[in-house]
């Protein structure tokens, strides 16, 4: 089949579809009213939702620590964990939330700057570049928040493990200073394996989630931009 035949096939399809798919102004208006968000607007919405979730979570955490826990302790008694450990965990948690908020705010500022620059652009290269920048920033924010959370999990898990271990030793009246080197190796390895497996699963799931959602799309945008940039290649 020659290209001219291809052209004539296209002409026939186009003219037939012109009648078949023709919409009147009311139908177009109804589609227009139901218009959806594009990917950039969806990311903007996700950042806002992320911020609301983290603020709601902080409110919940503060109300548990300052309202619910004191009431609970009146009836059940204080936990076995020392005040020092509790204060330290509280400070670490506050620091974690602060880091997450700062990360989201930085992304929000960056997102708005990119959006404002290219919002009306009809140039494909500018559009591709701004979308890649937005997605890359979103990806960076996603992984920074993930690392902060994983770090927090690792630290709280470790402190919980050490406190629990000490508590058990006191309860069973065993003298941990008499443990052999091999026993200590076993304890440390078991601890690292549990922590490592937990972090690996957590990281794997979040990584999979992001890649399934935007990974392929980001690759596609980058390859389109590279294709467009071929114009500068000396091989052309």
């Amino acid at each position: 089949m020659e290209l001219e035949e291809l052209k004539s096939a296209w002409d026939k399809i186009s003219s037939a579809n012109e009648k078949k798919l023709q919409l009147n102004e009311q139908e177009i208006q109804s589609l227009f009213e139901k218009r959806t968000l594009d990917i950039s607007e969806k990311i903007g919405r996700n950042i806002r939702i992320g911020m609301i979730i983290i603020l709601a979570w902080i409110c919940l955490w503060l109300s548990i620590d300052f309202i619910i826990n004191p009431i609970f302790e009146k009836y059940v008694g204080k936990t076995n964990l020392s005040d020092k450990l509790m204060d330290w965990t509280f400070a670490l948690e506050a620091f974690t939330y602060l880091l997450i908020i700062v990360t989201i705010v930085i992304l929000w500022i960056r997102y708005n700057r990119i959006e404002k620059q290219n919002i009306h652009s009809t140039d494909l290269k500018s559009k591709l570049t701004s979308m890649i920048q937005i997605l890359n920033s979103y990806k960076t924010m996603f992984y920074v928040v993930l690392i902060i959370i994983l770090f927090f999990i690792a630290v709280t898990f470790s402190s919980g493990f050490v406190a629990g271990f000490k508590d058990q030793a006191i309860k069973s009246e065993s003298d941990i200073s008499h443990y052999s080197f091999l026993v200590w190796i076993f304890i440390v390895v078991a601890f690292l394996l549990t922590l490592g497996a937990f972090i690996a699963v957590f990281y794997f799931l979040f990584n999979l989630f992001f890649n399934r959602l935007y990974g392929r799309y980001l690759k596609q945008l980058k390859s389109t931009l590279n294709e467009l940039d071929e114009v500068n290649s000396p091989h052309d």
């Binding site: 290209l3 291809l6 186009s14 959806t36 594009d38 969806k42 652009s121 009809t122 389109t224 294709e227």
Partner: protein
């Protein structure tokens, strides 16, 4: 402003249908893309100052949107088969040989990249290299080089059948 916009879109909707037919596999995808194009046209409408032709502006926005369109991850029966409904017209009005031509056409086009599809669409629409370059935002020389490559690719793809 909204009325004038809807008027322009209604009179030139053929452009959007062609772009959607070229880029989408399913009716659902086509509707999604149609809505996104409408939305992008509306967003860029305030900056349209009649410096270029309405059709050029509409092709520009529609093709940019189609090339950067985010398809939801859904299971689809066959991603290599091109949009059925858009090309189904052959079954209603034309003979078997035409039907075969159409199958060849859309299966070959389905294997092109986003930018290649846009150049082919404009070529099939008889646009001059100058206008193709303006719409896609590349040089005329690049359009020429790219078009020659695409012709070769299409011939090869159609020859494989």
């Amino acid at each position: 402003m909204k009325e004038a916009f809807l008027n322009i879109v209604t009179s030139n909707q053929g452009i959007i249908h062609k772009v959607c037919g070229m880029y989408c596999d399913t009716t659902e995808d086509r509707e999604d893309l149609f809505q996104e194009i409408l939305s992008q046209l509306w967003r860029s409408y305030p900056t349209f100052r009649n410096e270029s032709k309405i059709s050029t502006w509409m092709y520009q926005v529609s093709l940019n949107t189609a090339i950067t369109h985010f398809k939801k991850n859904k299971r689809r029966p066959d991603r290599n088969e091109f949009s059925k409904e858009f090309f189904q017209i052959a079954d209603d009005h034309y003979d078997d040989s035409f039907d075969e031509q159409v199958k060849l056409l859309h299966n070959a086009i389905a294997k092109l990249t986003g930018i290649e599809k846009s150049i082919v669409l404009l070529y099939l629409e008889d646009k001059k290299y100058e206008e193709v370059a303006e719409i896609i935002g590349i040089t005329q020389n690049y359009v020429r080089v790219k078009m020659n490559r695409i012709k070769g690719k299409l011939k090869k793809l159609m020859g494989e059948r």
